[in-house]
């Protein structure tokens, strides 16, 4: 499907093409760790710089190294294209391919607070949020409940997704590096527009065991313009959002 025209996406593609994208050494291959669109300290004080640096340069880089190993010798395809059949493809693609997609998706939906605070949902996204959850506040409340340690136990992600039909938003959690794009993970494949990493590595240095505090602070760095773009893409294409790297 044709990707909707977007000046922001054009800029991103140019930046991605020009930048030296591999932040950490690893096995060369089809996939690379995309540079963040903001400095490591950009999401302070909500997400600390040391966490951003290790999360990006170590954890994400390891997923990239491992998915490159798992796809060695195979045709190069965008990481998005590996998601649908990830369970069938095996643990290498599922865990490391999923890890690469999820983190690439995560970095770009966030922005420094002074930028993020000026963003808001598009009319389309606003309408879908109200229809699906009642209101933005109710959506956030339900999201935080879904992300709580007793609700998403262990490692995983919480997502807001556009459903198959494109007429409703769903709130879901997935374990480890699974995501809603993978057939067999949820009752039906759906298309994430917003996601939150609740693996302990995402918050431990600053928040230790206090995951709820991390989750409620995170709203301060959500870029609603990007989330709205993700929403339009998913609704128009009935497909997952492409990511850089």
């Amino acid at each position: 499907a044709e990707r909707a025209a977007s000046p922001r996406r054009d800029i991103l593609n140019k930046v991605a093409g020009a930048a030296a994208v591999v932040a950490a050494p690893g096995v060369a291959g089809a996939y690379e760790v995309p540079d963040l669109l903001y400095p490591f300290e950009g999401l302070e004080p909500y997400i600390d710089a040391p966490t951003m640096k290790i999360h990006h340069d170590k954890h994400h880089a390891t997923y990239v190294t491992n998915v490159n190993k798992a796809t060695e010798g195979k045709d190069e395809v965008p990481i998005l294209d590996l998601m649908a059949d990830a369970l069938e493809a095996g643990p290498g693609i599922r865990n490391s391919g999923g890890g690469h997609y999820n983190h690439a998706f995560f970095w770009d939906e966030m922005a420094p607070h002074d930028k993020a605070s000026k963003t808001k949902p598009s009319a389309q996204l606003d309408e879908l949020i109200n229809k699906s959850f009642g209101s933005m506040d109710e959506m956030k409340e339900k999201f935080e409940a879904r992300a709580a340690p007793g609700a998403l136990f262990g490692s995983g992600w919480v997502w807001i997704c556009v459903n198959q039909k494109g007429d409703k938003l769903e709130l879901v959690g997935t374990p480890n590096q699974d995501n809603p794009l993978m057939k067999g993970v949820l009752d039906e494949v759906m298309f994430p527009i917003l996601g939150l990493d609740v693996w302990e590595h995402a918050y431990y240095l600053k928040y230790q065991n206090r995951r709820p505090e991390y989750v409620s602070n995170w709203w301060n760095v959500v870029d609603w313009d990007k989330v709205s773009e993700n929403c339009k893409y998913a609704v128009d294409n009935h497909a997952g959002v492409p990511v850089r790297g």
Partner: protein, 240 residues
């Protein structure tokens, strides 16, 4: 360490596989003995560590031990008590749906309490414990070929756990052999596999992130230096 004796809850004792008759004095005084419940089956409590918070340095820092014990384990204990209260209410009301609905909370928090209680017990300060010739060593040799073989296999398997979980050396009561197993999240070993836990290694990120960041292999390789082999030996004896 409190001088008061506490009752050992039979169910938890069975789960930790420490028959009171088989408990040597040393073990009975240590943390595992405090897997206790008040006589009416009431609240579980956080067991004291059998050593100071800094005892496992430099392998595991005092900071990690403090967070791990007073925050993570403590939360499992608190939430287990909440879940058990709800279970009592549901059982009393004959609310089968409510009983089943508590399954997750009981497994998470009960498993978390069991696993961590076992974990503190099977650790000891560096240099204070070594594996001796005896039943444990013989069983390891029989089941894995040798002590180093077992360590290598258990390290690799434990490091490879996806996301949060545990690596275990367990005793299979049906075969009489030792096995290595991993469990996701806080799934308790014996309840879910029938293997009796002898030695556990926590690989939730909270167990090692402060000291090792993302480098789980360094943590798992180092943790062998702080294993309490006497406890592992005693658990095997109690299991047979």
């Amino acid at each position: 360490m409190s001088a008061t004796t506490k009752l050992l809850n039979p169910a938890l004792r069975a789960a930790a596989n420490l028959r009171s008759s088989a408990l040597p004095k040393d073990v009975s005084k240590t943390a595992a003995a405090y897997l206790s419940a008040a006589p009416s089956g009431g609240a579980h409590t956080l067991p004291d560590l059998p050593y100071d918070y800094n005892a496992l340095e430099p392998v595991i820092s005092a900071e990690t031990m403090t967070l791990h014990h007073t925050k993570h384990h403590n939360t499992y204990v608190t939430n287990l008590n909440v879940a058990l209260e709800k279970l009592d209410a549901a059982v009393s009301a004959g609310d089968v749906s409510g009983i089943i609905g508590l399954e997750g909370a009981l497994k998470f928090n009960g498993g978390g309490h069991l696993n961590h209680s076992l974990f503190w017990e099977n650790l000891a300060s560096k240099g204070s414990s070594e594996i001796k010739d005896g039943a444990l060593k013989a069983a390891i040799t029989e089941s894995f070929g040798g002590f180093e073989d077992m360590k290598k296999e258990m390290s690799a398997t434990t490091i490879a756990v996806q996301g949060s979980g545990w690596g275990w050396l367990g005793y299979n009561p049906k075969t009489g052999r030792l096995e290595i197993a991993t469990r996701a999240n806080q799934d308790p070993l014996q309840a879910t596999t029938g293997l009796v836990p002898l030695l556990g290694i926590d690989v939730w990120e909270h167990a090692y992130y402060v000291d090792y960041r993302n480098v789980r292999p360094d943590y798992v390789n180092a943790v062998w230096d702080v294993v309490n082999w006497d406890v592992v030996e005693q658990r095997l004896a109690a299991a047979k």
